[in-house]
Each structure stands twice: as C-alpha cells, then as structure tokens.
C-alpha cells in the first residue's frame, strides 16, 4: 500500500517531483563524472607508457621529459647527443632504445622523428604491436615519408598518399615558417588509444636535417625511449645516470612520475569533488524544501489517510519513501547526465593528450554514488516526514463541532 501512496503522491505533485529529481540528476551526474574522470585518468595516465620503462633526456624535469617524450605534450627540456644515445643503447640493462626528435608540427599536430624499430620491435601494450591500416606501410629511413597516428589522421582527414609540409616549432603559427620538404603519408596507424595516436611520425633524420634546423644539431635527439631487460634494472641505471649530476636525466619509472603529476594537481581534484558534494547536499536540500513546502497542501490528505486507518509510521514511511524515490529517479537520470558529461570530458582528454578514457567502464561510484544520493534524499525527507508523523488528525480533517 505504501508504494501506492508514494506513487500517487508523486503523480499528484508531478512538476515538483520532476524538478527536484532533475536537480538530483544534475548533481549525481556531476559527481559521477568528477569521480570517474578523476580515478580513471589517474590510473590510465599512470599506466600510459607506450611500452617503455624509462626516458633519457637532457638534464631537467623528469615530468617534463615524460610529458614530452611519452605524452607528446610540453616542450623538450633540451637535446642530447648521438653519443648519449649510443651510451644508453649499450648499457647492459637496456633492451631497446628508441631515439626521438621533436621540433616541428603540422597545424598543431606534433611531428616526431624516430626510427622504424618503434613500430616493428616495440609492444605498446603487452602483446600489442603497432600496425598500419589497409594499403599502408611504415616509413622508410631516408625518404620523405610519414606514418600518422589514427586520431591525427582522422582529424586532419589524411589518408595514404596525402602530402604535407611541416611547420617549424612545436606550436602552430599560421604565419610561421613552413619547411620546404614535402612529406607523403604512407601509412595510418591502427588506433592504440595512447598518445601515439595524436602524432605524425617521420624518419628521425627528417627532423634532424630539415632545412631551417640548426645544422650543428643535426645529430641531436630530444629523448631516448627505453625498454629495460627487467623493470627492476632501472634502479641501477637510475642511480648511475641521475646520481652523478651529469648532463642527462633518466625518467624512471614512468608511471611513478606521472602519478606525481596527479599528486601535484590533487588539490584541483579535491576542489572539484568538494563542489560535487556541495551540489549533492544542495540537491538533497531541495528534496526537503520541495516536500516540506507542499506539506500544508498534503496535511489534509495525510489526515484523511490517518482517519481511514493509516498508522503514523505508514504516513511517515510514505513521505520518506517519496523522498527516497525522488533520490532513486534522480540518481538513475544522473547516469544519463553522467554519460553525456563523461563522454564529452573523455573526448577533450583524448583530443588534448591522446589518452583514451573508458568512462562507462564499471566504477565503484556507480553503486555508492546513487546510494549516497538516495540516502541524502531520505535525510532530506525526514523533516517533512516527522511533520506528517506529528500531524493532528482531528484538527486537520474537519472543524470541531
């Protein structure tokens, strides 16, 4: 019976119910989005290493080095020499060393010079090698050829056979210098859901020797991506290279360095989360206000129900149940808000970093979020429920005669 009372009361106060549930939905959607993006981005970014254990670069910030070499963001902290590359390549702990050089872009899409081994020898995820789409192939050393990441190719509308002229610098300047060399796209990489998808890859010497670049730095590199024979071997390498205060920096392990970034911006997460919770509390307050404000109109109905034999706890339960039902409906609708918001945020993150979040993947907040919201609504419903509980039937239902 109590479900009937709840249903009919909600039907009777349909507009207030919908408005209140909508406010819960917005709050719930916001909280779910903040929470999912926060937890998933921290995990996905920390796990994004494109198959490498460490990065060697010029003396400077390890985080900047990782952002530049792995995430293809930020400027390079400086160059290292070909000799440095040879040195690291021959360290006993190093299994693979892939040099990269940056310095050019095409309309803001980063152009990175590297060697073919990146595509043929490196697994960007365990068991996953880079692959080019149908009709494509990897570039050949010495030729003006390019392989394009899937996301960049899609956004640029490039396919095999497309030609382009790189712009100088990492940041796109339409009035800036455009190199003379004309590159031809020979392959589009299959999606990897990593920052590699946002990069235009050309042969290493292309970046090094492009007209307009400093000929004295023609053999310089931006960084070396390193796979170790055993992950723990990085500790020794780390001590040898970073402990001596030389001109090089070894960023190892990559995941820990990225995690430090999230620690640095943890305050931002906390502010967002706080805002989401505040919105949640305000939304649950709206349940209280909505039901409480309608209590004058409901008082007579409640008195009639009591006169028909409904017990105090029944009307109390009906009011609390209505608040809970609004919470449940709002929380469920919140998933729709979340889906829209999260997909948008994920697309922005992908556009900016190449990292692909899966916001609809199961997250614990999917059960405790709605549960907390429903609980807050129940708390909001307690005040009007007590008012209903304490209602004087005789005084409310009819004038005493």
């Amino acid at each position: 019976m109590i479900w009937n009372l709840i249903y009919r009361s909600m039907r009777q106060h349909l507009l207030a119910t919908l408005v209140t549930a909508a406010s819960i939905a917005l709050a719930s959607g916001l909280l779910l989005t903040v929470w999912v993006v926060k937890t998933q981005s921290a995990a996905v970014f920390a796990a994004t290493n494109s198959g490498f254990d460490a990065v060697l670069g010029a003396r400077g910030s390890k985080l900047q080095l990782v952002l530049n070499a792995v995430f293809h963001l930020e400027a390079s902290p400086g160059n290292i020499t070909a000799a440095d590359y040879e040195m690291i390549r021959h360290q006993r702990e190093v299994k693979t060393a892939i040099p990269i050089a940056v310095g050019d872009n095409f309309q803001g899409w980063r152009i990175v010079g590297t060697v073919e081994q990146l595509f043929t020898e490196v697994e960007y995820l365990p068991g996953r090698h880079y692959a080019v789409g149908a009709g494509g192939r990897f570039f050949q050393i010495g030729k003006l050829e390019a392989v394009v990441g899937s996301y960049a190719a899609r956004k640029l509308g490039w396919k095999v056979g497309t030609t382009f002229r790189p712009y100088h610098g990492l940041a796109y300047d339409p009035n800036g210098e455009q190199h003379e060399e004309v590159y031809t796209v020979v392959g589009v990489l299959e999606p990897t859901n990593t920052p590699v998808d946002r990069v235009v890859w050309i042969p290493l010497e292309g970046v090094q020797t492009m007209k307009g670049h400093n000929p004295l730095a023609a053999t310089d590199l931006s960084a070396v991506l390193i796979q170790l024979r055993a992950p723990e071997a990085g500790m020794m390498l780390n001590l040898r290279l970073n402990g001596q205060g030389g001109k090089l920096t070894l960023a190892y392990p990559i995941g820990t360095i990225v995690a430090e970034l999230f620690n640095k911006i943890a305050w931002f997460d906390q502010v967002l989360t706080l805002v989401a919770w505040l919105v949640a509390v305000v939304a649950s307050g709206s349940v209280l206000v909505s039901i409480y404000n309608s209590m004058s109109a409901r008082a007579r109905d409640i008195a009639i129900l009591r006169a028909l034999g409904a017990r105090r706890r029944t009307v109390f339960g009906a009011v609390v149940g209505e608040a809970a039902a609004i919470g449940v409906i709002g929380s469920l609708a919140g998933f729709a808000v979340f889906a829209g918001l999260a997909v948008f945020v994920a697309s922005v993150i992908q556009a900016q970093t190449g990292v692909v979040l899966q916001p609809l993947q199961w997250n614990a907040v999917f059960w405790w979020g709605p549960a907390v919201f429903t609980g807050l609504c129940v708390i909001g419903g307690l005040v009007p429920a007590f008012k209903a509980y304490r209602l004087s039937v005789a005084e409310t239902i009819a004038p005493v005669s």
């Binding site: 009937n4 009639i304 129900l305 034999g309 105090r312 005669s401």
Partner: protein, 227 residues
C-alpha cells in the same frame, strides 16, 4: 451485547494560558445495537464531531470507556485504535474528504487499504451500487458534490465496517442531493448490516430516523455549563 457501548466518556482540552481545562464531551452512557441506525441531533459547537472522533479512535478519551464489538478503545494504544478503525469503522464526513489526487476507484480502495487489504472487485461493486460505475477513473474534481458524497459513502463501506459514522453527511448538499445521499447511506448500511450513527443539525435528516437522540442533552459538558 450492543455493538457500541459508551460509559462515562470524558474529553477535555487545556485552555490557553494555563486557564484550566475545557470539557468538550462528557457522556454518561450511550449504546448502539449491531445493525441499528441512530441519529444524534446537535448544533455546531456541541462536541458531536469530537464524540464521533472518540468513537472512531481518532482521539483518545481522558476517561471512560468505549466498547466496540467488546473491545475497549480507551484501553488501546494509538496503533491499536488505528487498526480497529481501519477494520471495523467507516467514516463519512461533511466535506467528503476525498483525496483529490486519487481517482474515484483509488479513493474507495483507500477505504480498505489499511485494514483487510484492497479488494478491487468489491470497490468496483460498491461504486456501481452508488451509481458511479462509469466514473471509476474520474477524479473528485470532475464530479458533482452529490457524486463526491456517494464516493465517500462507498469508501466508508469498503472495509465492510460494523459501524458507520456519519458527521453531517448532507451538510454540503442541496435538498435533493441530501435526500438521495441520506437514503443511499441508510440503504447501503442496511444491506451490509453495518450499524449507522449519524449526527446532524438538519431536522429533515433527523426526521428520517426512527431512533434519534439530542446530543446536547446527552453531553453533560453542555448541560452542566448551562446550569
């Protein structure tokens, strides 16, 4: 043994500002046999609604006893009185007191919801009996006042009560509707075997009853105040 037996029933309210108490009801004795139909005459302010609310268990008496079917309401807690009201009493109000957000059928179903449980077939049969079989899905605001009172009659009988209390049931109706409503109430109560206790100040209504008492004369709170 009568269905309803009242002895030394007293209900008083505290006056504002600690100015003592104001007795509203003080009835030495009253009985009603099962299936009987009894009218009580009472003008406004004589305490007749309080008297019915005490019998219905909506109010608890300060002293005295109300035996309904052998059970003393005065000895029951509020939850017990609620249950007894839900299972054995039907209440018809002057203002009908229908729930505006519920359909005609839902209003009648509410009359049985807190007692033996909803029996939709019985609710529909009752509504057909009071001539509203075609209005099941209507809302009270879509009905005339006479039709609304008929819904209230059907609701009062929905829980198969032993006793129907009617508080000025024709007070909001015009003469023709009042006559029809009264006839319907008495007829349906007789059909179902429910006793009827009706209070009214309308002499035309009171004249229809074989058994009628003057509540003002019964209520010692009034007679003593007058002396």
């Amino acid at each position: 043994m009568p269905l309803l037996e009242i002895k030394n029933l007293v209900k008083a309210y505290a006056r504002p500002g600690n100015a003592g108490v104001h007795r509203v009801v003080d009835v030495a004795g009253f009985t009603l046999a099962a299936g009987a139909q009894q009218a009580l005459r009472g003008e406004s302010g004589t305490g007749k609604t309080t008297f019915l609310n005490l019998i219905a268990g909506i109010l608890a008496p300060d002293s005295g006893s109300i035996l309904l079917g052998g059970r003393d309401l005065a000895s029951l807690g509020e939850a017990g009185r609620d249950r007894l009201r839900a299972e054995t009493i039907g209440y018809i109000f002057q203002t009908f007191n229908l729930l505006q957000g519920h359909t005609v059928l839902e209003n009648v179903e509410l009359g049985m919801a807190f007692g033996r449980g909803v029996d939709q077939a019985r609710a529909i049969a009752l509504l057909r009996r009071v001539g509203l079989g075609e209005k099941l899905g209507h809302y009270p605001r879509q009905l005339s006042t006479g039709q609304q009172q008929r819904v209230a009659v059907a609701r009062a009988l929905a829980n198969q009560p032993q006793l129907v209390l009617a508080d000025e049931p024709t007070g909001n109706l015009d003469r023709r509707n009042a006559r029809e409503a009264l006839h319907l109430i008495r007829e349906v109560c007789a059909e179902t075997g429910a006793a009827l206790l009706l209070v009214s100040h309308d002499e035309r209504v009171l004249a229809a009853f074989e058994h009628m008492q003057d509540f003002a004369a019964m209520n010692r709170a009034l007679t003593e105040a007058a002396q």
